[in-house]
Symmetry: C2
Subunit: 332 residues, 2 copies
DNA sequence: TAACGATGAGACAACGTTGTCACGAAATAT
DNA sequence: ATATTTCGTGACAACGTTGTCTCATCGTTA
């Protein structure tokens, strides 16, 4: 900046004024400064600016996701970016990989970079442990899962209601022997989905004990093996609900291997690309990552702008998408 | 930092020394400072540090992708993150959406944040227009496409060779009436793939004029319509090569609608989830985003560390994955 | 005992900005 | 004609750090 000032023959404060579009600069000098800055290819140093500037905004936020490569996460990422980029806010994105150590380290990294806010998918048992006291007043929005041990906004899917809808759908098609395939119950969303599914069955008079419940399924392969085992049992289920993308894939594989895709009904939680191209098309409870991302961004911006209302949890409804696999009749 | 110093009863420089693990601090004072900093939940301000620090690293880089929500892009993102996070480097990720204006604006945004380097997928015709002179010395690595008008490292897939392999594969299965479905030839990768495909056919004695070439296909729908049109023609192709993910999806849809999935061979560029679950499985030329990302990260780190060798283009080989759709015999 | 080097610690300036204030000149009001 | 306001501009301190330098203390050696 000193160089620009020297070249234009003005004081540095005048350059600062021009670069920030502040008033009180004559058109003549403005042009002179602009020309000098272009000649030197000068660009304001945001970090130095926010150091001095009151309010001290860095126009950047931190985003913590299970993995940036996970399609569900990356759609949330995209929606956040779209909303935030209108305000010139840049996004630091990082992947957690279910590792609480990483969660802690990444939060610290964001804090050290003085982000204006954070959006995170929590994994540690309690976030009080992960988020230092001092950042109580740092705008934070949790997504997908609600925070524990800390008061903050959250944007989540209606997991229990969505799973209940899946149950009702399968019941409506005459199924009474059902199976639940789920992720590990350590995860709040997985617990909620199980609860919603089983409670709905309970209300229809189907005791939980008659439902095949398989949990702790974290990847395609474990889900595939679990599905094969359950389908090979004496009284196999006539319908399966899988609580998550990868689990759905595993079940699909097992059904295909056993040539049972058209015999056993399937409803999966989470939509995915090409679900309609399968044979039959896969009926799913779709989440709306773009709405979750947008809502999270809006809440974060509101907090950054000073909204200090009580923290709230926002629920984004899921949606049943009928494609064939969930409408197969029971076959005994 | 002043507060920590006051609480510990030392000078601020001593606190700085402790926080940076510099030598020359007695264990006793070190403990006192550490305790004070924990009590106040103090954390170094990286921005202020890099302002003063010589070398002036911010430990952050910028990443420009077609879209963070694009699976291919997000896997590159992930690989980059994995390599860079070992060095404590954070990633600003942003989406381009084929918009040269955005490209320019985002590069400026990164520059203003004084990133240590950038990894980008260029879209503008020339990057000289987009990248200011002054950042000549900013480490930059281009991915997926080579830069124009600027000398820099690039990491790309062997697009022409991969497409040629697809052509050879189809020829090997007896096809002589082929179709090429491609993205807009504005994009370097699309041009390369077309060239590779057609040249290979030419070498086999199949004149380009007999190949149905449809280009400018940017999404599933346009590809679907184009495929329907070509397949309804007098002498429909017995095999199709689609040069990109979305185009492949469109062709798959058209084939399914026409009940021709088992009659017309298909090889797609880009692998995708569940390709093996289709009926038949989709044969593809797979790129290796994780290798591209890792290599790009390594090159960027080398540049950041001062490597000033001549810029090079690194080619990551693609791979033919056989799944059924590409091995169907011609049916006249 | 005097001279010396090693060690721990702080004072101070500087990094690139912006907020505050002051100043001179021009424009307006009295 | 003089007093007052407005306008354009720059000097200076401060933001939170770190590099450089200096200084006091202590133990060692001649």
């Amino acid at each position: 900046m000193r160089h620009v000032a020297a070249l234009a023959g003005v004081g540095i404060k005048t350059v600062s004024r021009v670069m920030n579009d502040e008033p009180g600069v004559s058109e003549a000098t403005r042009q002179r400064v602009l020309q000098a800055s272009q000649q030197l290819n000068y660009q304001l140093d945001m970090a130095a600016g926010s150091l001095r500037r009151s309010g001290r905004q860095t126009l950047s936020i931190g985003l913590l996701l299970p993995s940036v490569a996970n399609p569900f996460s990356s759609e949330i990422h995209r929606a956040l970016e779209d909303t935030l980029s209108e305000r010139g806010i840049a996004v630091f994105a990082a992947s957690l990989d279910d590792n609480p150590e990483r969660e802690k380290a990444l939060v610290a990294a964001f804090l050290g970079r003085r982000v204006d806010g954070m959006v995170l998918t929590p994994i540690a048992r309690s976030q009080a442990y992960v988020i230092p006291e001092h950042s109580r007043d740092l705008p934070m929005v949790f997504i997908d899962r609600e925070p524990v041990g800390i008061e903050a906004d959250a944007v989540v899917t209606d997991n229990a209601a969505g799973a209940a809808r899946a149950a009702a759908h399968l019941l409506g098609h005459g199924h009474t022997r059902l199976a639940y395939f789920g992720d590990t119950p350590d995860i709040q969303t997985a617990r909620e989905r199980r609860r919603g599914f089983l409670e709905q069955l309970g209300q229809a008079g189907i005791p939980t004990s008659t439902v095949s419940v398989r949990e702790g399924l974290r990847d395609v392969e474990s889900a595939r093996l679990a599905a094969r085992a359950v389908l090979a049992s004496d009284e196999p289920p006539t319908a399966i609900f899988s609580s998550q993308n990868l689990v759905t894939f595993g079940v699909m594989r097992a059904l295909k291997e056993l040539d049972a895709s058209r015999r056993v009904a399937l409803v999966g939680f989470d939509d995915f690309a090409l679900a309609d191209m399968m044979d039959p098309g896969i009926t799913v409870i779709a989440q709306h990552p773009e709405r979750i991302g947008r809502l999270a961004a809006e809440r974060l911006l509101a907090r950054i702008d000073g909204d200090d209302g009580a923290p709230r949890t926002y629920v984004v409804p899921s949606e049943l998408i009928v494609r064939g696999s969930g409408e197969l009749p029971p076959s005994y």
